[in-house]
């Protein structure tokens, strides 16, 4: 177990293998060695840390998470896998879909929290699909391409283009619209 202290001074006892998903903490632990000293995380609040380290509560979710973790290790191993075994690539693809379903369930947090989590994940250096897919899934709920107006509304972005610029950019990037 590892003791983490968040920016709002809350303490968290967390399993070592879970916190080691964070490259930042993993490196810290390696540098410091085994110790009872708490690890301070001045850039992460307790509500965000809960989301980052303890994403699942129900038994089904734990099941899915187990699969998620195993996928992460598969990805690491993949360069040494035989390139000729195309089936195993299909398998990986299938699992990726599972992750996205799970992520979608998991990302039903409000947008404020979503960005906090992204920032925390970046600070903690958690290189997993999980954190980086949030926004992707958030913007892609119905699979179809969204026009810029809709993305502006979704993410509260102010349109600072002139109408001419906007038309020009739309024309320039037209080739990518349906991909």
């Amino acid at each position: 177990m590892v003791l983490l202290v968040t920016s709002d001074n809350e303490q968290f006892q967390t399993e070592k293998d879970i916190v080691e998903r964070s490259v930042l903490i993993k490196n810290m632990l390696e540098d410091v060695g085994e110790s009872d000293q708490p690890i301070p995380l001045p850039n992460v609040s307790s509500s965000v840390l809960k989301k980052v380290t303890q994403p699942s509560t129900g038994p089904t979710e734990i099941d899915v998470r187990g699969r998620y973790l195993s996928t992460a290790s598969t990805t690491v191993e993949s360069p040494s896998r035989p390139p000729i075994l195309e089936q195993s690539q299909d398998e990986t693809r299938k699992r990726t879909t599972d992750i996205s379903e799970w992520d979608q369930k998991f990302i039903t947090v409000d947008q404020e929290m979503l960005f906090e989590i992204i920032l925390a994940a970046n600070y903690l250096d958690i290189k997993s699909l999980l954190c980086r897919r949030w926004l992707q899934d958030g913007s892609q709920h119905d699979q179809g391409a969204r026009p810029p107006e809709e993305i502006r509304k979704l993410f509260n972005i102010v349109n600072d283009f002139t109408p001419e610029e906007e038309a020009q950019i739309k024309k320039e990037n037209e080739w990518a619209e349906d991909r």
Partner: protein, 346 residues
């Protein structure tokens, strides 16, 4: 906190993860996202439909060199129908030639005219490229071979070359002197093409025997000379029916360092006939780890039951202790522990 409060590097990372249509939409939302997103949107461009291809060419050619210099990888895989509609216009080849910072260029093998025009260009950063051996609807001519040779001569840093297969590759040895491709690591080409290059250090080769007239022995002698020393080698061969055994023998004789062997077979009978031949050849392949045997026709791929496959895998593992996995058409088997475990995937 909103999207706009995230630092540039995270916006950049998000841009790289979303699909191109969302990249384009994000670029269209605000000045900041446009500045951050456009380099990502244009870095890797892969197109397959006619309208987007034409729109992309128009954008690049009417804004030179603004967008052209952002592209690092350009791929057009459009199929026969779309390719033949695009191929008479020079726009696509002109677009390719404008992409001066490009590292990877892949054009559909049906884009004959486009390839021919593109091959007049020079790309200082190119490391991976496809070339066509067909010119203006005619099969390869001496002039075309000279042009490809000149292109390769200007791109000696190429690491990966894919040459569209063509049965009539006779002009090559006459037209080309051997080109020193010192960086070349991966080559997919008709077997005859090997004689055109020198000094390569190949670690992967993919050859399609499309005619029984190709000489197996001579090709593999050349391949041995071009293969890198002490590197796990990947050898993929599509075999002409009569030459399967000759090819398998040649691999074991000339390329004993082969780590991955992938054989594409044309007839049902071949998959049956090849077994005794493999039992003879495999012991010479001291590093062989993966073996794949695939029938070229999809409906031939369900011939053997999994019991037969397991039995065959076991037999092959017995003669070749380094072998870790076998693929037979749609099923794969791998060694678990010291034994051949029953892990099959459809």
């Amino acid at each position: 906190m909103t999207l706009n409060d995230l630092p540039d590097e995270i916006i950049y990372e998000i841009m790289e993860l979303v699909p191109p249509s969302d990249q384009a939409a994000l670029c269209g939302t605000s000045q900041r996202l446009h500045i951050l997103g456009v380099p990502v949107l244009y870095r890797v461009v892969a197109l397959s439909e006619r309208a987007p291809i034409e729109a992309f060419c128009a954008t690049v050619l009417s804004n030179l060199p603004k967008f052209a210099e952002l592209v690092r990888s350009f791929e057009v895989i459009a199929g026969y129908r779309v390719s033949s509609m695009l191929d008479n216009s020079p726009a696509l080849a002109d677009t390719c030639k404008a992409l001066q910072r490009i590292e990877t260029l892949a054009l559909d093998s049906f884009l004959h005219n486009t390839c021919w025009r593109m091959q007049a260009g020079t790309f200082p950063h190119l490391v991976s490229c496809t070339l066509s051996t067909v010119e203006g609807g005619r099969w390869a001519s001496t002039a075309h071979a000279d042009r490809i040779a000149a292109f390769l001569g200007r791109h000696l840093a190429l690491e990966c070359i894919w040459i569209g297969n063509h049965p009539n590759f006779e002009v090559w040895p006459a037209a080309a002197t051997r080109i020193p491709m010192r960086s070349l690591r991966r080559l997919r080409a008709p077997p005859k093409f090997l004689a055109c290059i020198a000094e390569a250090r190949l670690k992967e080769v993919r050859m399609e025997w499309s005619s029984a007239f190709e000489q197996v022995g001579a090709t593999f002698t050349t391949l041995r000379e071009l293969a890198a020393d002490g590197v796990p080698f990947t050898c993929a061969v599509e075999c002409w029916a009569e030459q399967v055994e000759e090819i398998a023998d040649a691999v074991s004789k000339h390329m004993p360092q082969t780590r991955t062997l992938h054989m594409v077979l044309q007839t049902l009978q071949q998959l049956r006939d090849i077994m005794p031949c493999l039992a003879r050849c495999l012991p010479s392949l001291t590093d062989l780890t993966f073996l794949s045997l695939v029938n070229v026709m999809p409906d031939h791929r369900t011939l053997f039951s999994s019991n037969v496959q397991a039995f065959q895998t076991k037999a092959l593992v017995e003669v070749c202790p380094t072998l870790q996995a076998c693929r037979f058409n749609n099923a794969a088997w791998r060694k678990v522990g010291g034994d051949v475990g029953g892990i099959s995937r459809e």
